[in-house]
């Protein structure tokens, strides 16, 4: 087989589309553990909340795989990779030869050792199967404790709450979404959640999950001494790269699978992309794991083109999150919490508590390197341009950005022309 892809998430879709930009002929095989064609993983929270039905989960039209000449082996897990012989083996005992392999196996839920967590009524929330279980459980339960106040924890909590469950979210750090948000943004979002009746407790975590003699879940002991009665616990702290398959095959790993600027791993003909990969960061230059959707697609897309023989460098991952809290939209891109005491950063803040609107811009050496918007998010893309294209921001432009009015006429003239009115499209 010319192309084999392990995993059927968004990085895999990116890779298929990348390969087909270069090579429309040779067959692709995708081997994925889950039973369904690629779905919008973030949509599982919309499904759990009852906002969408299962019919809206699929990411691409039904005929996508056929049109792209892709053979799908679903419900099949790759058990081993022989990088020398270029063969992958599956849990069903099949062996598949490959010329080019992409490892796009995503992340696995991070589960810290909490006493009592082994047993019934403790769940994760990272895939469709988890969502389906929680949907059926939500009908019978009254209370849920969600451990983790990051993206996945908040999504899980919100969705269960929408099903009529009384939810408490526990976040160990002093604020929710500690990576993407600062205090102001977290406070606004927190207020919104409190208004609708979701309990969020920061600065505490679960010390022990209490069970009775029969092993039935009773509640959660918190690090601050409190005890919360609950019917279920959802551990949703985040994901860690699912790299054991690669590691066991002798492929170099660090925090994730190490890849070069072409998304190639240390093994010949083997690439990696998505939540499992540690790839170049656009802003810092160093390699990091940034487990978000857009990066997974972009990395897969770049890997796919290179697998098919093109010579394309990965431009780099950029952290970005867009999350709404019951009608309060928020967006966070790039560096939002620069290291304290580092004078190379300049921060411009605009907070209107009444209007529930917040804007934070982070500049470094006359470049916009990150921003947070709460409430009024409509100009987000125009700010993203400055971060992504690393455009120098002159003083007058800076003033305009700080006034909440970024626009394309602030771009360098050549770049504007090339982008909007080129002689030939590239």
């Amino acid at each position: 087989m010319k192309y084999v892809i392990i995993g059927n998430g968004i990085a895999s879709i990116g890779a298929i589309e990348g390969i087909r930009k270069v090579d429309t002929e040779n067959e692709i095989m995708v081997i994925g553990s889950e039973d369904s064609p690629a779905y919008g993983r973030p949509l599982i929270s919309y499904l759990l909340a009852g906002k969408i039905g299962p019919d809206r989960l699929a990411l691409r039209p039904q005929e996508f795989y056929k049109k792209s000449n892709v053979t799908l082996k679903l419900g099949t897990t790759v058990a081993g990779i022989d990088t020398k012989a270029r063969i992958v083996t599956t849990d069903k005992g099949e062996a598949v030869e490959f010329e080019n392999l992409l490892i796009a196996v995503g992340g696995i839920p991070f589960t810290p050792p909490i006493p009592g967590s082994d047993g019934a009524d403790v769940y994760n929330f990272t895939n469709l199967a988890h969502a389906q279980v929680l949907i059926s459980r939500a009908k019978e339960i009254k209370r849920a404790v969600v451990i983790g106040g990051g993206l996945i924890g908040l999504k899980a909590g919100e969705s269960l709450f929408d099903r009529g469950v009384d939810v408490t979210i526990l976040e160990l750090s002093p604020r929710i979404l500690s990576l993407a948000f600062d205090e102001n943004a977290a406070a606004l979002a927190g207020e919104r959640l409190a208004e609708v009746g979701l309990n969020v407790r920061c600065g505490v975590s679960a010390k022990e999950i209490q069970r009775d003699a029969e092993g039935n879940l009773k509640g959660v002991h918190l690090t601050d001494g409190d005890f919360l009665q609950t019917d279920v616990v959802v551990i949703a702290i985040g994901v860690v790269p699912n790299y054991n398959l690669a590691k066991d095959a002798g492929i170099a790993v660090d925090q994730g699978i190490k890849v070069n600027n072409h998304m190639k791993t240390s093994a010949g003909g083997v690439f990696a992309a998505g939540d499992v990969a540690q790839a170049k960061d656009l802003l810092f230059g160093e390699d990091r794991v940034i487990p978000i959707w857009t990066n997974a697609y972009n990395q897969g897309f770049c890997a796919g083109k290179n697998m098919a023989g093109a010579d394309i460098e990965f431009t780099g991952s950029l952290a970005m999150n867009s999350i709404s809290f019951y009608g309060l939209p928020t967006i966070s891109v790039g560096t939002v919490n620069p290291p304290e005491g580092d004078n190379s950063f300049e921060i411009a803040i605009n907070l209107d508590e009444k209007k529930k609107s917040y804007r934070k811009l982070v500049f470094q050496n006359d470049h916009l390197v990150g921003y947070v918007l709460v409430g009024d998010i409509d100009m987000a893309g125009m700010y993203t341009a400055f971060v992504k294209f690393k455009m120098a921001v002159r003083e007058d432009a800076k003033r305009q950005l700080m006034a909440g009015e970024p626009d394309v006429l602030l771009w360098p003239d050549d770049f504007f022309q090339e982008t909007w009115n080129p002689e030939t499209q590239s």
């Binding site: 270069v22 906002k51 998010i377 294209f389």
Partner: protein
């Protein structure tokens, strides 16, 4: 190797190119846009009623800075950031036409595309959890309405 080209396939298609040398900032393109996307197909009704009632809004945005102005909308990028960001499959590249297509039914209003598109080409629908983005006046035989409406030929619809 048959069928394998080692270059990257680019879409050749017509796009709308704005020229800031010619734009006079009159906003007629925006009006033409809302009319073309209105139920009534009538400027007055679209502007007076559908705008307020249905949240009808323009895909085109005019920016002004001193004497300079320009009207922009979706570039229908070859490798669009919005498609990479879309969590629902609501945005995708039509392989046949090369257009960046929006499927309203699939969209869940997460605003990921609005954040990711560095061209500011996506806006929120004012009343629904949906986005507003240029569709090059899909189905309009004469081509994009904004181009036809521009009195100073500052918008060109061509293949480059």
């Amino acid at each position: 190797m048959p069928g394998v080209s080692h270059g990257i396939k680019e879409n050749t298609m017509k796009r709308v190119y704005p020229d800031k040398e010619y734009c006079i900032g009159c906003h007629l393109c925006e009006l033409a846009c809302i009319t073309a996307h209105s139920k009534s197909q009538d400027l007055i009704v679209a502007y007076r009623e559908e705008r307020g009632r249905d949240g009808l809004s323009s895909c085109k945005k005019v920016f002004e800075k001193g004497d300079i102005c320009v009207a922009i909308s979706c570039r229908h990028c070859d490798e669009p950031s919005c498609v990479a960001a879309c969590i629902s499959g609501g945005l995708y590249k039509d392989p046949e036409t090369g257009r960046t297509v929006y499927d309203r039914e699939k969209c869940v209003g997460c605003w990921s595309c609005l954040m990711a598109c560095p061209y500011g080409a996506i806006s929120r629908h004012p009343t629904e959890g949906k986005i507003v983005k240029c569709d090059l006046c899909e189905g309009r035989e004469e081509g994009p309405a904004c181009v036809a409406a521009c009195p100073n030929l500052a918008l060109k619809f061509e293949e480059r």
